[in-house]
Amino acid sequence: MTVFRSIRRRTNSWSILSILFTLLILSPALSIFVQIFEKPNENWAHIQEFLLKNYIQNTLTIVLFTGIFSILIGVSLAWLVTAYTFPLRRFFKWGLILPLAIPPYIGGYTYHGIVNYTGIVQSTLRNEFGIHANPVFFDILNIPGAIFVFTIFLYPYVYIITRAYLEQQSASLIENARLLGSGPLELFFRVIIPISRTAIIGGASLVILEVLNDYGVVSYFGIQVFTTAIFQAWFGMGDVGTAIKLAGILMSLVFLILFFEKALRGRKQYSYSNAKVRPLEPVSLSRKKTTVLFAYVTVIFMLGFAIPFVQLFQWMLLTYEKVMSPEFTQLIANSVYVSMVSAFIIMAVALVIGNFTRLSDGILSKAISRVTVLGYSIPGAVIAIGVLTFFLWLDRRLNVLYEWLNIDAPIILSLSLIMLIFAYVSRFLAIGFNPVDAGFDKIGRSFTEASRLLGKPLWRTFIQVDLPMIRSAVLGGYTLVFIEVMKELPLTLLLQPFNFYTLSTKAFQYANDEAVHEAALASILIIFISGLSIFMFHAVLEKEKR
């Protein structure tokens, strides 16, 4: 009887949809995950003997330091922007998110272009000042260089989440700490970092995932990491089996990290209390301190955005005539189109799953909320193969239908944009789901329950109560996904339909053949559009506050 009742109570369109979406979207990732248990072949032994140890060591080094530096930079900026006044503060509030608009591999190319032997730095020293600096000093194609690139272009994940969190904190918490005699540094390390732990870990885990599944930066930098092993097995040895096995291991590793994240996060906190806390008001510092603070913020902004942007702009001017063509309007349209559609679908799916997992306490719903991240945990090319296989299978199943409809082509879906968009959704679901999940976490269940007791069924409740209450989380998720898709490369390369190019693949077409200058125009456009969407998101949020 219990089972019957609880099934009845819990079976609604939400749960059915959630399970359906999850299965559908994650089937490519799951198909990879199960293959780690397959028997290894002799390539596996080779990889283990000659590559793995070193690769894992490199991977861990990069992940560890990128994680630490992103946290230090992201949290400190979040804190400074929230707590103190300084010139241009209103601009920096969103300006500090802008590095996210630059795809790390393009940032990597750009920085290498700046500091290499013919780059602006060394050539200026050489030609203007006659200084022949030791070129090794400017070498960034190494592990520290990769850590720099990842940190400076990914720290905004930590910054965004931590800032949003700190803005809701009660002023009295900070004031109390001050009264108890904490200096600014002590306050930062002993109060700010500990209380923002959850937010920090949330942001840092996005950074780490991004680093773990990156291939663009490390392959250009010639650094051998875990993903290199996957690609070597796959392409170097033509052994997809071993490659997938490695990807599966990576996926398990990510799962472990996320498990820790969840454990660290501990019990959920519902905190949309009615007793409104007095929000933190920024205070002004002494002139000297303000200068130092301003300098710090400016330096980060310059490194993460202004410098690479200006360099790309200069390259764009160099190659503009050669590269510019009417095709670019189509490229912009394509990029914006797939980004918007994917972001929209992802947010819709994330809302359905998020609402389901918060309203039911079963193990199933917990599991569903965890597996949304699967697609984000392995290199794009590997996921792409999973998606392709899945769609080819679908096409074969649908062949009867095609024949019946008198379409004389064996594959339709796997040559269409649907496959590509599906792949984006599968990959970036986690990016959209995280803020939605956090948003639901924050409002808790009592509003929903109140609405239902006032006679509104789940769907109406969702539209009238839940959605409006988490709209800024939804908008934030939408923006992040939009940018991610805009920057995305490996999936697009592998799953693009005929004659379908985006800004990202255009930039790649040049950069891949070391024509970095020619890649500048497409890169600038990506950055501009992503930057614009960050600005729009910020503007909407600011307007809401007033």
Binding site: M1, T2, R5, S6, R8, R9, Y272, S273, N274, A275, K276, D361, G362, S446, F447, E449, A450, S451, R452, L453, L454, G455, K456, P457, T461, Q464, V465, P468, M469
Partner: protein, 226 residues
Amino acid sequence: MVMQLHDVTFTYRNAKEQTIRRVSMALEKGEIVTILGQSGSGKSTVLRLIAGLEVPEQGEMVIEERTIFDAKTFIQPEKRGVGMVFQDYALFPHMTVAGNIKFGLKKMKRTERDERLASVIELVGLTGFEKRYPHELSGGQQQRVALARAMAPNPSILLFDEPFSNLDADLQVKIRDELRTILKKTGITSIFVTHDQADARAIADRVIVMEKGSIIKTGTPALILS
């Protein structure tokens, strides 16, 4: 008899023991019943079961001759005609006072709705506050909006889960007297959870005492609380 609860048993997921053990009760029309008991004795859970926010393992419930749940039936919360005032009020922060109160008034004409709003808002003494947002109200005012919102759709039963716990002592006394007046005036049947004996004495027609998930005593306030 407005409502009857028979032999209801319930266990929370993860809980080792039954949270609610064979609880039965019956409410007369217009009666105000208070459930008293120590923290963790299962008071809130009983309310949630009545409201339909939890699914019982066993037992039956009937409201106004309609079976709400039994072995075969489970009516969803929104269809039960049960109102509830939450401990933290759960006022929708993105709606005005008027929006909150009108929220549950469906299938009514616009004019009817406005009339209903005006009458309940007058009842709780908040006329003139319609356009405010919840965070622009004091704690006592928020509490009264929550009451108005729950009463507006004319529920068969109104449930209160420690509605005064967010208020200071003076306000608590004032509001609880007001509340009794309002409830009696409108004749709404209500269940009232508290662990404050003074509350129970002031407001209840009948008191039910719970311990470890079971009802151990029931009777008039004078009898139980002496």
